[in-house]
Symmetry: C2
């Protein structure tokens, strides 16, 4: 008898009926002979409602108190799930992040899990209970303050619990059937992946696939926890995120999928003197402003002028801050001008198989070109190729690449994308 950790997000817990449905699902896993530990998010839009309450009393609430407030959301959903389970004749015990032993650093609003000490969970399991844990929250090691984990927090809680408890699997329940070769809202013929490796999933998450958060995948890879991403609305097998089995590499597809991201902006610094230290000054200034850059491209300088252009992408939300930091440098290092473009999209082709297959880039670029889409920037890693294009052309480029790499589902296996619109 093994331990199964499950995670249900807010869209699966929107109201009483959904909570009862989730409770039935949980008890099925228990009936099948497993010990079951469940991480839950706050119900539906309740986190947004709490944020609205906070805005009502203070435009800039202290982070400590905001965490105290937001953690009430999972407290409510976990108690309700436990009640619904008890109503089905099983016993359940709910635990807050703190009670569950989710120990974090003390950065309110985006704390990192540094340890999990699940003594109370183990005791409850030993007593035969189903355990429900509040996701997204923990308690800080030094100050014993309540913290929240930030985006993707409940997924990360689930994986961290799975690791600490030595669970067989961490099941992430969502409102789609699994991880797809592309966003099914853009590519109708996108295919559900049966398996994807940690490193591919990391690249997919980093490049805009919203199904799993980067932190959760990183945690799972570090502790080798198999993640099963599946729908809470059906019993179909979803996508397994795990290391390929020995000797499995031969059969691995060259390309796992195509991710896209419309959340970035592009800044071009025009006319940077092509001398030692100038580029460094620019990136130092951006780092000092706490801005995470994504792609960076520097053109070869025109010999006549010894000036170069540097382009980079960054989260749109950091755009104004970055432009301000660069503007302050303008006179100091003699930049010609700054250009800001927030109408871009990034498209990434991801696959561990591309390591051993030459010609992937050429095929990718020419598929995009054939669709009439201009490529503005390129960056690559060992298992990924990303391009920046006009935001309006993202869909066309994704569809063209999807077809070019034979990712389209056959007639028979075409999926219908549904779910509750999360």
């Amino acid at each position: 008898m093994g331990i199964v950790v499950q995670k249900y997000g807010g869209s699966s817990l929107a109201d009483a009926a959904s909570i009862k449905r989730v409770a039935r699902r949980i008890t099925e896993a228990k009936k099948a002979g497993n010990d079951v530990v469940v991480a839950v998010s706050a119900m539906g839009d309740s986190t947004d409602e709490l944020l609205e309450l906070a805005e009502g009393v203070s435009p800039l609430p202290p982070a400590r108190e905001l965490d105290m407030l937001l953690t009430a959301g999972e407290r409510i959903s976990m108690a309700l799930v436990a009640m619904a389970i008890s109503d089905l004749g099983f016993t359940a015990r709910s635990f807050t992040g703190s009670q569950a032993g989710v120990i974090t650093d003390s950065v309110h609003g985006k704390a990192k899990i540094i340890d999990v000490t699940p003594g109370r969970i183990r005791d409850a399991i030993a007593d035969g209970h189903i355990v429900i844990v509040a996701g997204f929250q923990g308690v800080s090691q030094d100050t014993k303050e309540i913290t929240t984990l930030g985006r993707g927090g409940t997924d990360t809680t689930a994986v961290a619990l799975a690791a600490a408890l030595g669970a067989d699997v961490c099941e992430i329940y969502t409102d789609v059937d699994g991880v797809f070769t592309a966003d099914p809202r853009i590519v109708r013929s996108a295919r559900k992946l049966d398996r994807v490796s940690y490193e591919e999933m990391l690249e997919l998450a980093a490049c805009g696939a919203k199904i799993l958060h980067l932190r959760c995948v990183e945690y799972a890879r570090r502790y080798t926890i198999p993640i099963h991403v599946r729908s809470s609305f059906s019993h179909k097998e979803g996508t397994w995120v795990m290391d390929p089995a020995e000797g499995d590499t031969m059969e691995q597809a060259i390309i796992a999928g195509i991710a896209h991201d419309r959340s970035e902006a592009k800044i071009t610094v025009v006319g940077v003197p092509d001398k030692v230290g100038y580029a460094a000054r620019i990136f130092e200034a951006l780092a000092a402003a706490q801005i995470n850059l994504d792609m960076i491209v520097q053109n070869i300088s025109a010999a006549a002028t010894s000036l170069t252009d540097i382009s980079f992408t960054l989260p749109r939300t950091d755009g104004a801050t970055a432009m301000k930091a660069l503007d302050a440098l303008k006179d100091e290092i003699g930049l010609a001008s700054l250009m800001y473009d927030d109408k871009i999209g990034k498209i990434s082709l991801i696959g561990a198989g591309m390591r051993s297959h030459p010609g992937i880039s050429a095929k990718f670029f020419s598929a995009i070109a054939a669709a009439g889409v201009n490529i503005e920037m390129i960056s690559t890693s060992e298992i990924r190729i990303s391009v920046v294009v006009d935001e309006a052309q993202v869909d066309a480029a994704v569809a063209a690449a999807h077809t070019a790499f034979d990712l389209d589902a056959d007639e028979g296996e075409a999926v219908v994308y549904g779910g509750s619109g999360r």
Copy 2:
């Protein structure tokens, strides 16, 4: 510089505007040079909303999970109050009951406070913070489970904190100006009391005055914590609940006030054999059914029959259970019949001064008689006389007694009863 503990109920924290108003009030006490610790209830009707959610998933939710759910309410309000205070330029730290060291027994839903270990509160005070504590909740000593204190829980939390911290005063903020000689909704000329002793307040609370809960007054008396009951909507002095100062007795009014209670029912057991052990059987049966009796009256038996009648009052909510328990006894001890009346009201005249003043009962009964009201039962303690009358005549009897004992306010001091309708 002393410590002031304040308590704000749900009606004072109904929305963002109310929370901001309460925050201003709290910072005024801080500005006046006090260390301030505040116990808060859940916002407005939010506890009822949480109960509705629970009903939606389970008709009979486990008590542990219900406590987990309900404690989210104060968590939300305390964080919002702390944010509103911070918005006024002060620093505040909110603490759950568990964090504040409110240690209880493990009876979910109506736990009793058995200790308060306010280490974190003291540290926060020492750091200059205003401290906000979730009322109504604690953590059980043995099982470390989250508990709630039941009715009057936040008042009790406030007094318990005041006792543990050696506070100068516990201010209970409400939506009326203080404790009145009678319910101002019934007696327009009711007068606000400037002071009332613990023992009088205990009797008032036990006899239906809803302003303070019995447990809170008991706690305050045990630790000699002065309670200042006052309005959160004005800056007027309210009512001080405290022991009379030495030599103060001479000036003490004979009567503190008149309380009434419409929550009880009366049961009469007709034709009980007037022999040793029969009455005991009846009360044993009621005790076994967990019913708390209030007034008990046994008539002298009629010599001819050696049968007696026993009447008692009890909470209406226990009426059906009690009748069932008695019905089971009917044949065993040969009762003639049972009579149930839930259309009764209890009126109580309370005053420490009545000890040394004879004739109070006579004056009370004749005032009620003069108002045309029939008295059905009488019971007395050293500082209280209670009568049971027809429920429909409660208002008339209260008003008549109020006038007879000269409690009516003079023209000038007449109060206008207002507040938010709590």
